[in-house]
Assembly symmetry: C2
Homo-oligomer: 326 residues x 2
Amino acid sequence: MKLTDAALAGDRRALARLLSWVENGAPEGREALATLFPRTGHAHVVGITGSPGAGKSTLVGKLAKEIRQHEPRLAIVAVDPSSPFSGGALLGDRLRMQDLVADSGIFIRSMASRGHPGGIAHATRDVVLLLDALGFPVILVETVGAGQAQVEVARIAHTVVLVEAPGMGDEVQALKAGLMEIADIIVVNKADRPEARQTVRALQAAYLGMTAAGHHTPSTEQPLEVIPGWETPILQTAAVDNQGLTELVAAITAHRHYLEISGRWELLSRLHARAEVETWLQRHLMLLLEERVGEQRLAAAVEAVLRREKDPATAAQELLEPLLSR
Amino acid sequence: MKLTDAALAGDRRALARLLSWVENGAPEGREALATLFPRTGHAHVVGITGSPGAGKSTLVGKLAKEIRQHEPRLAIVAVDPSSPFSGGALLGDRLRMQDLVADSGIFIRSMASRGHPGGIAHATRDVVLLLDALGFPVILVETVGAGQAQVEVARIAHTVVLVEAPGMGDEVQALKAGLMEIADIIVVNKADRPEARQTVRALQAAYLGMTAAGHHTPSTEQPLEVIPGWETPILQTAAVDNQGLTELVAAITAHRHYLEISGRWELLSRLHARAEVETWLQRHLMLLLEERVGEQRLAAAVEAVLRREKDPATAAQELLEPLLSR
């Protein structure tokens, strides 16, 4: 396939085209992923998540510049927020990243939540896989918005950075307990604000309370004998003023080393591979349903349920019968 | 089946047992649902959602008492919060509802997020279906916690009540835009607090902004000619002092009338039935995978992916081949 060769040689237009195919679930995308798959497994995938207003996009931009001082290339995948009901993606943040475009070593891809037949999580995974195959040593995946998207990032990233703004209320913190559990590094951005210290303390307290209560970050879930578990650092940055970025990059690098030395890199790779296969099982089955059950038979089954002639479980079972062997 | 007869006759222990079967996805539960399914379709399912700290449990308790003045029976299904990673459900709120237990016309069921093979959303739907079949005219479904659970409630409820506390920050409101879109009634609880008026105004502004921007509540999504669309009321309650409850019950009743007169009750029933059938399609397929692919073959496929011998899509396809006809 010529396009994959061009993309491998560094042709950005070929890369953009491949990515579109992969994002949209086009057959060419599947084919490219299958061809390139043996090349994957080398990128360090860093998920960056947190609530809107924490200054994530600015931080990602600055972080990318900082990482570029050590790496020849870097990719950013920005997953845009949108509520499950309103279609509008807020792309404003993307503009802040535009000055990065001047750096040809940085590739940026924004993905809206809509328009992915298999769901945004699946599309994101495929895009990351392609960028990995094409030799990007570091891939930053920025996710915003609903809780689910943020949890999803833990399923593709090796390192999860949770970004907070100073002055979030206690209530919000409580809601975030689930997020803190998936964080490998916690960053309080906008640390020039007076409330920053207090937020750091609140996060430390919440984090200690969480670990004391027997919860562990994924990093310490599997007891490892030689290497002690990772202790999630709580860092402060002021991305606009370039403060704290060196420390953040150091923490990200340290986490990668920790993963490799502790054997957790391999473990994560196995978990990710399993998640991929399971997702594809579901995906294939859903496509099969679309093709071989179809809208008309589904609608007829729904009407039978509405007339109370069949319960939903039985109606679904009957739809499946012709698909299955034996 | 004797147990279903006993439950239909009002035996609470039989009901509790049936519910456990249904919750756990036991075959007896499936059978009971299939038997009782023709009796479903009459309950008014009212979803009550909102962030922790809004006083939801107290409100639900008082609301139940108020509704009981007009209805012979009522059921409460309380879905307890828990992060996707920590197993602990916060059941403290449940205690506040205990004085309701004295009323034999009120049936309360608490469900933890864990321990449901098909997921909490699926288990909740089945529990509601069973309660509907057993003749409860009103079912209150209280959900707390993560965004996804709150969105799910819109898929089973006819009427969604969003409960807020006074003094939520703007940022939090923004996060809630998705929730406001699914709300049929918005309640500012703890309305005795001085910030309540301001919160009502902020919600009104947010709501107007949302509808002006072309978003609509599900109630007005389908243009209906004769009956004008539902305008989501923003009410104030102080549940602890029994204030505003009559108005809330009136709004819930008005919404039910609106649904019936506008034809949206039927439309919602159709949407819910379709969601049920689709969920069961997925569920059956997942069970089939467990039974007929099994852990050993799945693990072998994952190892092949890790050795980069197969990409995940191909590995999944090969696992499925033997299951499918033709």
